[in-house]
């Protein structure tokens, strides 16, 4: 199954080496969404893919030690919260919802730059959510939502 630790040295090692670069690339994509294709969503997916790769190669238990499900879920809502929170902050500051121009009084960088920063903040939120969500969906589908030991029992019974 996909959530057991892989036996293949090649895969394991390569993914071990690849994951940090994937992640830095993902973050780059998020941070440079302003200038090049990409943004929170794509970056988030790549981040999520790196987590998925971790699960596939090193097994669920090892991966969970790095990123527990609880943390994952909370990250997932944190991302949306960042997004909606920035929007609500604009609301609080007296503008319309998601009107980043209203952030200027806090940031003191000029309206265009404030909008740019608002976009960045929002993209970060999207990235976090998408990453956590992708990982979480994958985990749930790949394990069937059950702990690996239990899953084995069920499989045994089927056969």
């Amino acid at each position: 199954m996909m959530t057991k630790q892989s036996d293949d040295v090649i895969v394991k090692t390569l993914s071990r080496l690849l994951i940090p670069f994937m992640q830095i690339y993902a973050l780059y994509v998020i941070a440079h969404g302003h200038y090049s294709p990409g943004g929170g969503f794509q970056g988030g997916v790549i981040l999520g893919a790196s987590l998925i790769l971790l699960v596939i190669t090193y097994g669920l238990d090892n991966a969970l030690r790095k990123m527990s499900e609880k943390l994952n879920t909370i990250l997932c809502s944190t991302g949306v919260f960042i997004y909606a929170g920035i929007g609500a902050l604009c609301l609080v500051l007296g503008g319309n919802f998601l009107d980043y121009a209203e952030l200027d009084p806090i940031l003191h960088v000029g309206i265009a730059q404030a909008r740019s920063l608002g976009i960045l903040g929002v993209e970060v939120g999207v990235g976090i959510t998408v990453m956590a969500a992708m990982a979480s969906i994958f985990l749930d589908i790949a394990t069937g939502g059950l702990p690996s030991s239990k899953e084995k029992n069920i499989q045994g019974k089927r056969a």
């Binding site: 294709p37 794509q42 997916v45 998925i52 969906i137």
Partner: protein
Amino acid sequence: MIWQLDLILCLFIIICAIAAINVKDLLAAVIILGAYSFFMCLLWTEMGAVDVAFTEASVGAGVGTVLFIAAVSKTKRRSKD
């Protein structure tokens, strides 16, 4: 816009789509779907939609395929049609 490339890509896309829904081995079908997504994103790049292509590459050909594979590996691999 190079129409030859376009044509080839479109051809591949249609072949992949038909193959994906007709192959009886689900794992193969899913992989073909991944290929389909990939060709699709090439086509989009070629149409100038780089952002969309990027997203499709990471989602359709990437995570989507992985999710499909996970689900197929959890269930049956053979299909009757």
